[in-house]
Amino acid sequence: MATPTRVAESSPAVEADRAPASKPKEMHGVAKWADERIGIAKIGKFGLRKVFPDHWSFLLGEIALYSFIILLLTGVFLTIWFKPSMAEIEYDGSYQLLKGMPVSEAFASTLDISFDVRGGLLVRQIHHWAALLFVAAATVHMLRVFFTGAFRKPREVNWLIGVGLLSLSLIAGFAGYSLPDDLLSGTGLRFVDGLIRSIPIIGTWAEFFVFGGEYPGSILIPRLYMVHILLVPGILLGLISAHLALVVYHKHTQYPGAGRTENNVVGYPLFPIYMAKAGGFFFIVFGFLVLMGGFFQINPVWLYGPYDPAKVTAGSQPDWYMGWVEGAIRIIPAMEWHIAGTTWTWSVFLPGVGLMGVLFVGLGLWPFIESWITGDKREHHLLDRPRNAPTRTALGVAGMTCYGMFWLSGGNDIIATRFNLDLNAITLFMRVAVFVAPVIAFIITKRIALSLQRADRERVLHGSEDGMIVRSPEGGYSEAHLPVSKEEEFLLTQHLQHKVLEQGHDTDARGVQRKKGGVGRLQARLSRWYLGHDIPKATASEIEAAHNHGAHGEVEGSHGAPELDGDGTGATPHHSADEDAHSGSTAG
């Protein structure tokens, strides 16, 4: 946390605005009592007027946070009645269709909560909707952090905590889904059993340890219960606290704009504005989830029936966040190795365990990979506009596309029956699509980002069209341009364009050896691929020249700006005389 010396400097601008009180105020009552014991005045002085920037995309993390709190509240309510036991009893509740059936205590108590505890169904449904919202909000929040570059120095650690949070929230959700011991949750567990069994070398042992013997055994649900209500929420709580503490310590990033710099933060003070907005927003999220719980049925386990290892329903689907793993498992071709009397079931292990590993390790490494490629070691508190990091943006969209393709594959049977298509053809198509679609998405996104950069550049140099076509005495037509405002001009030009890293001259064939001032070959290549296509933003002299033209009443044309070549991959940003040797124009 920040050291107290820094606290003293908080929000000078605001404090200066307030009329100085003639006499220092004195603390009384409870505040005084508490201050004498725990020093709340110091805490308040540090935190009360802390400034938070305001933007809708900063609400995404808040939605995740509030869903988590709502999960804790509703979850505690559910534990009052839920019995995590696989022991068989005869169902004797008020749901007539299952009366007298042998079911597990877990299943029976879930029905009791749904039919016999007043408000139980509402809370159960809020809990499930909140779980779906939690993972969704965390995912979209992560995308916001990714596309705006909020993970860059100094926030890499918070990004890593975030990756941990996301993976844990998947585990929490899955464990919860399995607790009611209904037909769907049992099917999900059977899948987990197969997944664990497929782990090379230790698979069978891991399976026997997790299930306490053979599947399904009698101890799994009590164990999952412990994981779901104690272990994972405990770790989540700790990680979320650290996550938020770091947000406070680093201060939130802000979008670029007039008056915003790398060294300040512009926004509203915690007390009262941010507190009211954030606190109010908690109630909005909560109210929304309560309405969802009242109006939209979710996981009606009584319709699925108790778990029966000999039954499965066609079209059974996991909760949405597991859909992509399910899809990968569906489309992978069969693959089994036999080595020295053993079996290695890759077609389950790779898409199941392997793919998740790739995703989370890849996410975790990304901030470090990016700063290695760009050579960027500065602190960043101003967010990137996604177009100004075109390769990152394109990679992000490619990743989302790949995820989406896997996710769609998870519903290949539903697609087949809904649209009357051949199931096997869809599967074959998806096997190709998970590789090809991301590449297409990458290319398209990068193109779009670069054209937006070009449009920004044009706008700075030539202003915006004023919508009036003018005919000149010579007979030519032109549209007059209005110069953009100072604020917009600044917004469109303030971003840093990194230089492509140069390969050291003395590197050997493998590019390992580095000369002072240069980098290895791989790093240089990646850097060129990553940064080399930026449209150089308008320079001060170009803007100056453009303004002068404007002043002489001339319109249209790009006299001031250097011509860009066809695909806009002209020159490397930050051209200077001695850098002309490289011109980053490889393929777009």
Binding site: A13, D17, V51, A87, E88, S94, R118, P154, T187, F191, G194, G203, T204, F208, F209, V210, G212, G213, E214, Y215, P216, Y249, K251, G259, N263, N264, V265, Y268, I273, A276, K277, G280, F283, F286, G287, F288, L291, G293, G294, F295, D308, P309, A310, V312, A314, S316, R330, A334, G341, T342, T343, T345, S347, V348, E379, L423, T427, K486, F490, L496
Partner: protein
């Protein structure tokens, strides 16, 4: 104020135009127009005023609405009490939120504040001071002179993890060869066990099965099990029995006497990750797993024709007993369900084997 620890020293780097500074604050309509301000104020009060009404309604519903009352109104079909709770409770909570956010947006002053940032890092002096204090601590600890202390403490701590890990060895039985043979490698099928319909529990007779028909079946002795044991055995022993025209299917030499006039029995447990397989296409003799769409050809010893499963579906050898009922000749000849590491499944039946 000293701002020597700013995050970046050159915030102007690469700016072709200077930062114009914060835009001027524009007063909101509710600030300049008293009428608008008062209206906003009243709206907020009204929203908050509705909350107690809704809360009381919620409690009334709790005590007054019968638990099984049902609302059937167009697409809205739901338990009345649940719907009432959701509506009153949800709106009450939502209104609190909307009112407070509205208060923050239109009534609280909306002038932006500016705060100075600091580098995440400590200053040079702080670093130096900490390093010095650390050195002093190291000195005081005595490890400089008694060097083994650190290694010994670390080693002790490390070794003490071993018992902690060993404590988990009882999480489940150890799947040694003997244990596997008694668990995942066998089912309760045995010579002479009756095949019973898994809904009616009637023993199956060959005459009762038509060509093209599929029946889900269980071993008759499954009835001896209850609770968790029942689930464990059922998870392995479930079978499907199909009758096909013997002339339209391939029956390998080694399995010539495993069927009864075109009636064949297969494990119902998918060899992919173990879902019970259910979707039967009688024309093609294909059996499709609903979980990940592995497709097995029951007219060809259960070999995989599509999908992620890697092994053929195990076949259960059956015959007719003296009373004319279908019974098993033995247990499955290979383990059912997904493959596992310790067993080489490459010798299992493959397309073309005889």
């Amino acid at each position: 104020m000293s701002h020597d620890n700013l995050p970046v020293k050159d915030p102007e780097l690469g700016h072709p135009v200077p930062n114009p500074g914060l835009e001027e604050h524009v007063e909101r309509y509710t600030d300049v127009d008293k009428g608008a301000g008062d209206r906003a104020y009243r709206t907020i009060l009204m929203m908050l005023g509705a909350v107690p009404v809704l809360a009381i309604l919620f409690v009334v519903i709790y005590f007054a609405v019968p638990r099984d009352a049902y609302i059937d109104f167009g697409i809205l079909q739901a338990n009345a009490m649940n719907l009432g709770f959701g509506l009153t409770g949800g709106l009450a909570v939502l209104l609190i939120g909307l009112a407070v956010v509205q208060w923050a947006r239109v009534i609280m002053g909306d002038e932006e504040s500016v705060e100075i940032r600091h580098a995440a890092s400590s200053s040079e002096e702080e670093r130096a001071a900490v390093l010095e204090e650390f050195d002093a601590g190291v000195e005081q600890s005595g490890v400089r002179r008694r060097k083994l202390l650190l290694g010994a403490a670390g080693g002790g701590l490390g070794i003490s993890l071993v018992p902690a890990v060993v404590l988990f060895a009882d999480m489940g039985p150890h799947p040694t060869a003997a244990v596997r043979a008694e668990t995942i490698e066998r089912t309760i099928w045995e010579e002479g066990i009756l095949l019973v319909n898994d809904v009616t529990w009637e023993p199956l007779r060959p005459e009762a099965l038509e060509v093209g028909q599929l029946v889900n079946a269980q071993p008759a002795n499954l009835n001896d099990f209850h609770g968790a044991e029942l689930q464990v055995e059922k998870a392995k022993a479930s079978i499907i029995v199909v009758r096909m025209d013997p002339n339209s299917i391939k029956i390998p030499q080694s399995r010539a006497d495993w069927h009864v006039g075109g009636i064949l029995a297969y494990s119902k447990i998918c060899t992919h990750v173990g879902c019970p397989i259910s979707l039967w296409e009688r024309q093609t003799h294909h059996l499709l797993c609903p979980c990940h769409q592995s497709t097995f050809d029951l007219g060809n010893s259960g070999v995989v024709v599509f999908g992620p499963a890697a092994r053929a579906l195990p076949q259960l050898p059956i015959r007719v007993n003296a009373d004319g009922y279908l019974v098993a000749q033995s247990d499955f000849t290979v383990p059912v369900g997904p493959s596992f590491f310790e067993r080489d499944s490459s010798q299992d039946f493959q397309d073309g084997d005889q």
